[in-house]
C-alpha cells in the first residue's frame, strides 16, 4: 500500500527528463574550486597552502568543529590559491583552487569495482570513519552525516529511514544511482543501521519510480530482512525529513525537535552510497552524481562529476547552454537557488543543475494577498505563510517565533501555489534569518 504524509504538499509537473540515462563519468576538469564550507555548521579550516602538491582523496580542509565536515582533494595537482572566491550567491567564501595534473589517487583508496559485502569495521568506529571521509547529507541540505550517526545519550534509534524519494521535479540523480548501485546502497544502509543500532531500515521511494522500487526490493531481499522498501504516493515535499518520517513510520517530530526524538534517523540514498564507499573502499567524498537537465537542454544527462568542477563544464557535457536560457538553478526547481555565475563549482550538495528558458522563467506579476489561504493549505508544516510574510513586512521579528517560523523547511510550496504571485518563501527566509540573529545575540 502506498503511504504519504497527511498535511499540505503540492504536486508540480514531474519533468524527469534525464530518467533512465546512464551515469556518465566526467574527466577531471583542468581546475577545481573547492569551497571549504559545503555543509551546515562551522566551515572547515584549509590545511594546504599555495604551491602544495595534492593527490586525489588527500585532506585539504579539516573539520572546524563537531558540526562540520572534512574536505578532500577531488583531483591531483598543485594548489594555486587559497582565497576568498564568489560562490553561487555571489558572496565570497574561502575556497581552495587546485590545478589538475594527471590523476593520482592516494594508494589506500580501493578503486576497483569489486563489491565488498563483508563489513569489517567495528560498529563503534563507523561514525568516526564517516566523519573522516567528510560525508554530508547528499540530498541537498548538507548536514554532516557523522552527527546524525552519533545517537545522543538517553536516545534510541529504532528506525533508519532512507530518503530515496527524490520529490523534486526534474532531478534524477538518486533514481539513477539506485538503478546502477543498488548493492552498494543496501550495504551502505546495513553499515548505518549497525552504527546507530537500529532494528529496521525503511527505504522510502515515490511511486513514479516503480523500477527503482522493484530493483531495490529484490536487492534488499538478498542481504537482510531488516531492510524494507516502502512505496510512497507522489507528493512534494515528501523528501523533507519530517514529512518522510510521518509518511513511513507515522510519527510526528515535535516542533523544534530532531528525528532522533521520535527514534528515527533519516539519511539520503546518495549518503548511503557515500557511506559504502567510505567504509568499504576507503574513499572520501570527492565526486557525486549530478543531473544536468532542463526542457531547453539538448541532452539531459546524469553525470558523475568531481567536487569543484565548474557548472559550465557540466552544461557543456549536456550539449551546451541554450541561447534562450534565463536561469541556471543549482538544485531542483522547488528548493534550488539560481546561480549568479556559471563558473561556480559543484559541491557535495549539488544534486542537479537545471536550465530554465526565458519562457519558463517568467514569473507572474505580484499582486496583493487576496487571503485565499492556499498557502496555509499546502504548507506541510502547518504554518501560515501569509501571516509570516505580513509580520516580516512590518519587521516584527520576535512575533515570528510563536508563529513557529523556525519550523519552516523552506520547501517553497507556498510560493508555488500563491495565486497573487507573491514570493512568500523569500520573505519567510528573511524572517528566519533575522529571528535567528536575535536569538543568537540573546544567547551570547
Amino acid at each position: 500500500m502506498l503511504k504519504t504524509f497527511p498535511t499540505g504538499g503540492v504536486h508540480p509537473a514531474e519533468n524527469k527528463l534525464s530518467a533512465g540515462k546512464t551515469i556518465v563519468k566526467m574527466d577531471p576538469p583542468k581546475t577545481v574550486v573547492v569551497p571549504v564550507s559545503q555543509h551546515i555548521g562551522a566551515p572547515a579550516q584549509a590545511v594546504v597552502a599555495k604551491g602544495d602538491k595534492v593527490m586525489v582523496g588527500q585532506l585539504i580542509a579539516k573539520s572546524g568543529g563537531f558540526v562540520s565536515a572534512n574536505i578532500h582533494a577531488p583531483v591531483s595537482g598543485t594548489v594555486v590559491k587559497v582565497d576568498k572566491m564568489p560562490d553561487s550567491t555571489g558572496y565570497k567564501q574561502m575556497c581552495v583552487v587546485i590545478d589538475t595534473a594527471g590523476d593520482e589517487w592516494l594508494p589506500d583508496i580501493d578503486r576497483s569495482a569489486d563489491l565488498i559485502t563483508e563489513i569489517s569495521v567495528p560498529d563503534g568506529e563507523i561514525a568516526a570513519k564517516i566523519a573522516a571521509a567528510g560525508i554530508v547529507g547528499m540530498g541537498g541540505a548538507g548536514f554532516p552525516t557523522h552527527v546524525k550517526m552519533t545517537v545522543p545519550p538517553g536516545k534510541k534509534a529504532s528506525h533508519l529511514v532512507i530518503n530515496a524519494v527524490e520529490c523534486e521535479p526534474y532531478l534524477t540523480s538518486d533514481h539513477q544511482l539506485m538503478m546502477e548501485k543498488a548493492n552498494e546502497i543496501i550495504i551502505g544502509c546495513l553499515i548505518m543501521q549497525r552504527a546507530i543500532a537500529a532494528t529496521q531500515t525503511i527505504i522510502g521511494i515515490e511511486n513514479n519510480k516503480p523500477d527503482a522500487i522493484k530493483h531495490l526490493t529484490e536487492t534488499a531481499a538478498k542481504y537482510s530482512s531488516s531492510i524494507v522498501v516502502q512505496g510512497l504516493k507522489v507528493k512534494y515535499p515528501q523528501g523533507g525529513e519530517k514529512q518522510l518520517i510521518k509518511a513511513v513510520v507515522k510519527r510526528e517530530v515535535p516542533s523544534g525537535g530532531l528525528p532522533i526524538d521520535v527514534g528515527c534517523v533519516v539519511q539520503n540514498v546518495g549518503t548511503a552510497y557515500a557511506v559504502y564507499e567510505a567504509i568499504q573502499k576507503n574513499k572520501p567524498v570527492i565526486e557525486r552524481v549530478v543531473s544536468v537537465t532542463g526542457k531547453s537542454l539538448q541532452n539531459p544527462v546524469n553525470l558523475l562529476a568531481r567536487i569543484g568542477t565548474p557548472i559550465s563544464e557540466l552544461i557543456e557535457a549536456a550539449g551546451g547552454l541554450p541561447e534562450n536560457t534565463a536561469k541556471i538553478v543549482n538544485g531542483g526547481p522547488m528548493m534550488g537557488k539560481a546561480v549568479a555565475d556559471v563558473s561556480v563549482p559543484v559541491t557535495k550538495t549539488t544534486s542537479g543543475v537545471l536550465i530554465i528558458s526565458e519562457l519558463e522563467a517568467l514569473r507572474p506579476e505580484q499582486f496583493n494577498c487576496i487571503r485565499c489561504a492556499r498557502c496555509v493549505g499546502v504548507c506541510p508544516m502547518s504554518l501560515e505563510p501569509y501571516l509570516l510574510k505580513n509580520l516580516v513586512n512590518i519587521s516584527e521579528w520576535e512575533a515570528l517565533q510563536p508563529e513557529r517560523v523556525l519550523d519552516c523547511i523552506e520547501c517553497g510550496s507556498c510560493s508555488y501555489t500563491c495565486v497573487a504571485g507573491i514570493p512568500l518563501l523569500d520573505y519567510i527566509r528573511l524572517g528566519k534569518a533575522n529571528l535567528n540573529k536575535i536569538l543568537r545575540s540573546r544567547k551570547s
Binding site: 555571489g90 565570497k92 537557488k337 539560481a338 549568479a340 514569473r363 514570493p423 523569500d426
Partner: protein
C-alpha cells in the same frame, strides 16, 4: 405621578452616590505627570521618527524632563532650534550640535555599473541581499529597490529611475538615521552637513581589490591611496581596499577629489572650479606683474 417622582429621586441619588465614589477613586489613583512633559512635547516636531533613539516624541520629552543635562539628548529632526526651545521650557542650556545629513556612498548608476544578472523576486533590498550579492558585479553596491525610501518619514529620499540610485534631499533630510538602519548593505552614512552644506566623501563601499572593483564598476574606489597621500590633514584612511574620509578632520580642501583616478570621491555644493592655469602661464603672469 408618584411613580415618576420615585424614579427621578432614586436615579438622582444613585447617580450622586456613584459620582462621589468615582471622584474618590479618581483622586486616590491619580497619575501625577510632570506638566513639563506636555510642554516639551509641544515644541518637538511630532514626527515620531525614532532618530533620537527613544520611542517617539513623547518618550523623548519624558527623557528630557528626567535628564539633569540635555547634553546626551538630541532631536535630529528638530535640530538646534528645537533643542533651544526644549532647553528654554526646562530652564536648561542646550548643547549646540553640528547638523548631520545622510549620504549615499554608492554611485554605481546603470551606465557605470553594468548588470550581470536579473533579480526577480520580492522587491525589497533586505530580501535580495539575503538571497545573493546583487544584480551587478559589485557585491557591496546599492540594490536600488528602495528600502531606504520606504522607511523615510520626511520624504527626503526617492529613487532616480535614470540612475537606479536613491537621491537624498538636502532640505528634507533630518539625519534621523532610519535609512542607515534599513540599508542591508550599509551604504548610507550620517555625515556632517558641512559649512554651506559643502561635503566631500568617498562615494563607494566596494572592498574588492582594485582590479576587480574597477571591472564591476567604473567609479569604484580601487584603494590606490592617492587621496590619502594628497591629504594634508591626515583625514583619509585606506582599509580593505577602500578609502574613508573622516569628516571631523576633513578641511574641505578638495585635493583628494582632484587626484582620485576613478572619480569615486564626490564634492557637493562647492562653487565651480576656476579653469586650471598651467604653471608656465602663472610664472609668466607673475614676471609681468613684477616688471
Amino acid at each position: 405621578m408618584e411613580v415618576v417622582l420615585y424614579t427621578v429621586v432614586s436615579l438622582s441619588v444613585l447617580g450622586a452616590v456613584l459620582g462621589i465614589v468615582l471622584f474618590v477613586i479618581a483622586q486616590k489613583f491619580k497619575v501625577v505627570e510632570d506638566p513639563r512633559i506636555d510642554e516639551v512635547e509641544a515644541v518637538l516636531p511630532g514626527a515620531n521618527c525614532g532618530g533620537c533613539g527613544l520611542p517617539g516624541c513623547r518618550g523623548f520629552a519624558e527623557a528630557c524632563v528626567k535628564a539633569d543635562d540635555l547634553g546626551a539628548l538630541f532631536c535630529p529632526a528638530g535640530g538646534n532650534a528645537c533643542m533651544a526651545q526644549v532647553a528654554q521650557a526646562l530652564g536648561q542650556v542646550a548643547v549646540e550640535k553640528d547638523p548631520m545629513i545622510a549620504v549615499l556612498r554608492c554611485s554605481g548608476s546603470f551606465d557605470k555599473r553594468p548588470k550581470t544578472n536579473h533579480y526577480n523576486s520580492a522587491p525589497s533590498c533586505a530580501v535580495a541581499s539575503m538571497l545573493y550579492s546583487g544584480d551587478t558585479g559589485c557585491p557591496n553596491g546599492c540594490l536600488g529597490m528602495g528600502d531606504c525610501v520606504d522607511v523615510c518619514t520626511f520624504d527626503a529620499i526617492y529613487i532616480d529611475n535614470t540612475t537606479g540610485l536613491p537621491v537624498i534631499s538636502d532640505v528634507n533630510c533630518t539625519a534621523c538615521g532610519a535609512c542607515v538602519k534599513a540599508c542591508p548593505k550599509n551604504i548610507i552614512e550620517l555625515r556632517l552637513k558641512g559649512k554651506k552644506d559643502r561635503r566631500i566623501f568617498v562615494s563607494c563601499v566596494n572592498t574588492e581589490k582594485g582590479g576587480i572593483a574597477k571591472k564591476s564598476c567604473s567609479v569604484a574606489c580601487i584603494g590606490c591611496g592617492l587621496c590619502a597621500k594628497a591629504c594634508a590633514y591626515d583625514a583619509i584612511k585606506i582599509e580593505n581596499n577602500l578609502a574613508y574620509i573622516d569628516f571631523e578632520k576633513c578641511k574641505l580642501c578638495r585635493k583628494c577629489v582632484e587626484v582620485c583616478p576613478t572619480n569615486a570621491i564626490h564634492e557637493l555644493n562647492f562653487p565651480a572650479r576656476k579653469p586650471k592655469v598651467s604653471d608656465d602661464a602663472t610664472i609668466a603672469e607673475k614676471t609681468k606683474e613684477n616688471e
